[in-house]
Symmetry: C2
Subunit: 486 residues, 2 copies
């Protein structure tokens, strides 16, 4: 495969992120863009192996908190789509429709490829839920969805087919639904920040930028190296909108019939992958956090061709480590230096070098991908050392990313400061009139004048506005954040 | 949910398999058939949790043997389908076609929902493979596929959407491709027989019953309680048919250009699930092999409502076991007897009972789902005892299933014996003229007269035919097997 070619990767992602991204997607074998349907890509082994681990991370956290896995059909009848008005308006333009089968036999009803599964799931929920005993109902599915995006596609970041998890929950009261949204944010923090080292801010989106059919939308924005934010998991208080449309009702303890309160949460694994590689990558290529690396350790035997003992030892070490880690050993006939470059570009967190001298000392050399730091480790301590080095590497990546991110969240008190901050690729804190629909004119000005968007207000802080809105001059009602976006 | 209702399941699957199957699918919460697209079902948590483990089993074995995971688009352009003639003839009648998007805008080309992925993958393979260094190429994807089946659908057994793994490999020569097929059979043996306890015979299918586009098809048939065989994983020698059609070529060591040799292997996880539950289930309901049970242990606390120590201990035991097993504790207010019935019906392999008397003795009671056997186990030995009991249970299920299966593979020397054996739900060994196309008339007679099909010849044995074909009287050229089928 193309990915096996000789590689010396050297692009500064902070100067030319577009170039870095396109090149690494090709060179590291992450996706192949030559598939002959526009907007669709082939996800290649080196990304899929990592995404599989990410799926596991999220699924475990969801299940720990009472979510059960299910699998709903990918095809949704058009009549289901038509049930909730706002939802259909939001998604209808993007739906791919199955209209015929076989030689051209028309179907009785158009079937939409799920762009998201509310309309498939909630019709079933209305049959499953009878009484308060059936609540809460917390179900997730890991699947792919299809949306005919009109914006330019970019592998992992935006494509017409992507891979995600969607969790759809029903509660007896509004309070429980709102608690669920906090739980979804906590899951996001644990997986995205703690395990993948990707910093983000959770914003409550303005009313004009909600999920179609939701009362409130909360979304995690991370910051890409080119200064644009990328929306990662979002979670939505659906209120009773869908419940009323789909008749999701239950009989309460007092015998009265009530509508359920719903939430949904959608971590898009393929997009999260984009965030992870973009934020941690460097000029040599990919840098994976230890836990989600497709291979965690690469064993490079030195002079194994003239020293069979080295070859034997390399195989032995691979076997030993494989019980606990994902390991690859490189016995190709490239020079060691070439192998170093290659596996650095692929982002393998730890390189293990073993040569004739090490044999005598019963030790090996471990090299960290992020810092290039070498350590000499006794063979008997190998497993623990790899474990620790992996943990340290992930922790370093997180700290570095957090430092970068925090430095890029700044305040603007004037339009000039705002323009400067945006041009420097920052997320800008600003006094703003409101996040209700009445402020949509100011939001349009933000888009037109600044090429940026109002991301909403922070969820983790209560911030008090002061002075007046930078755009309309009215009294500021909220502290909002503005950024350019994907 | 409906599954939480009071249940006393009592159906003899050997007398009324159809009734048993439909009832357990509903009662145990395996699938919901009320989804409003014909032939599509919702796979419910209790089956999905088990299928997820089955996916893991197969993926691990595939990866151990050098397969890499990838994800190809679900949509395949019509032009790709048209490339391989036999393939398109086989699959075209069943394809669901996407023809429009949004409000009704026609797509330039019809896009088929993948019924299987040869035509999506091999076009890419032709770009990826350049030289002998790129071979073998071994890639799998875990995904769902869609086929507009005209036969009656039945959840898990046959539906218009199902969940499977497909592995697609390319080799430099025919010998390597044929070795791969043996490897696929070995993976099947390890997963299906050793881990899931499902006995089967691998048959080479007759020429008239091959996968569309293959040179040879091998498929594992298991035997359902109603005496019909169910085809589980199949693996195919594709030869160079697709390679020639899709230009999957490589430059060999001597500089000459050659076509690749291909194989594909397709374990259908949702269908395998049907085999597992049907073969191990009993009149009380499901019986899961330990490793793939959605929950492996159910903790039933006795008199916990009047004795808080029991409640505490039950929670403690659940926590302790959860580190290693999938555990559920039942604190509902049903009587213990009702709980026993319910969790037996759900097929949980081990029931742990803990009551006031057990507290004093620092022991618990473990009950095996398959035999009902009780054992008293000291708390300190609990983890090991559960581990061992689980292993024993799986081993017993396998042995019992093998004994049943072997007793149902019989020989017929006359048409009378054949009819009798088929009516008793057996797989029948018979002298047969041939498995080449010339014998298709005999095969038709088998179908018309006996309502059965020629499954092919065994792969695990070389069997010498004798005498003449039971159907046409010509000299027998092969020992074939005949059975009724799903």
């Amino acid at each position: 495969m193309a990915s096996e070619e000789k590689v010396t990767f050297n692009i500064d992602k902070n100067r030319d992120f577009g170039g870095w991204y396109n090149e690494i997607v090709a060179k590291a074998g992450l996706a192949d863009l030559r598939y002959n349907v526009k907007g669709f890509v082939v996800f290649m082994p080196w990304s899929v192996a990592s995404m599989k681990v990410m799926y596991d991370l999220w699924e475990k956290e969801l299940e720990k908190r009472g979510h059960l896995p299910a699998l709903f059909p990918a095809l949704i009848p058009e009549s289901n789509f038509l049930v909730e008005k706002e939802h259909v308006e939001g998604f209808a333009p993007e739906v791919f429709w199955v209209t015929e089968r076989g030689g051209g036999e028309k179907l009785e009803e158009r079937l939409g490829l799920r762009p998201t599964s509310e309309t498939a799931m909630y019709k079933m929920y209305s049959m499953w839920i009878r009484s308060y005993n059936d609540l809460p109902l917390k179900i997730y599915q890991s699947c792919q969805v299809w949306r005919h995006e009109t914006k330019a596609t970019k592998p992992f970041i935006r494509s017409r087919e992507f891979h995600w998890i969607e969790a759809h929950d029903v509660f007896a009261c509004r309070e429980d639904a709102e608690k669920q949204v906090l739980e979804d944010m906590e899951i996001t923090r644990i997986c995205l920040l703690e395990q993948l080292g990707v910093p983000f801010l959770f914003f409550e989106r303005p009313q004009w930028d909600k999920f179609a059919g939701a009362d409130k939308t909360f979304a995690a924005d991370c910051l890409m190296p080119d200064g644009k934010v990328l929306q990662l998991p979002s979670t939505h208080v659906l209120g009773q909108n869908f419940a009323k449309a789909f008749e999701v009702k239950y009989v309460d303890k007092d015998g009265s019939e009530k509508y359920g309160w719903q939430t949904c949460y959608g971590p898009a694994i393929s997009r999260i992958f984009a965030g992870v590689i973009s934020i941690h990558g460097d000029s040599k290529g990919l840098v994976f956090p230890f836990n989600v690396a497709p291979k965690q350790v690469v064993v490079i035997p030195i002079n194994f061709d003239i020293n069979p003992e080295v070859k034997k030892k390399a195989e032995e070490l691979e076997k030993k480590l494989s019980g606990r880690f994902r390991v690859v050993v490189d016995f190709s006939d490239k020079r060691p230096g070439e192998k170093y470059y290659y596996w650095e570009m692929k982002g393998v967190p730890i390189r293990l070098e073993i040569g004739p001298k090490d044999l005598e000392k019963k030790s090996v050399v471990l090299v960290r991908r992020d810092t290039g730091e070498k350590s000499f480790v006794k063979e008997k301590d190998l497993t623990e050392s790899v474990e620790k080095l992996g943990r340290d590497l992930t922790e370093s990546l997180k700290k570095k990313a957090l430092k970068d991110f925090n430095a890029k969240v700044v305040e603007a008190k004037s339009m000039q400061e705002m323009e400067k901050a945006l041009s420097e690729g920052k997320i800008v804190r600003v006094n703003f009139c409101s996040l209700e629909l009445g402020a949509v004119k100011c939001a349009e000005e933000v888009e037109k004048k600044l090429g940026a968007r109002v991301r909403g207000k922070r969820v983790d802080l209560e911030e008090k506005p002061s002075g007046s809105c930078l755009f309309c001059g009215r009294k500021a009602g909220v502290v909002a954040y503005i950024a350019r976006q994907y």
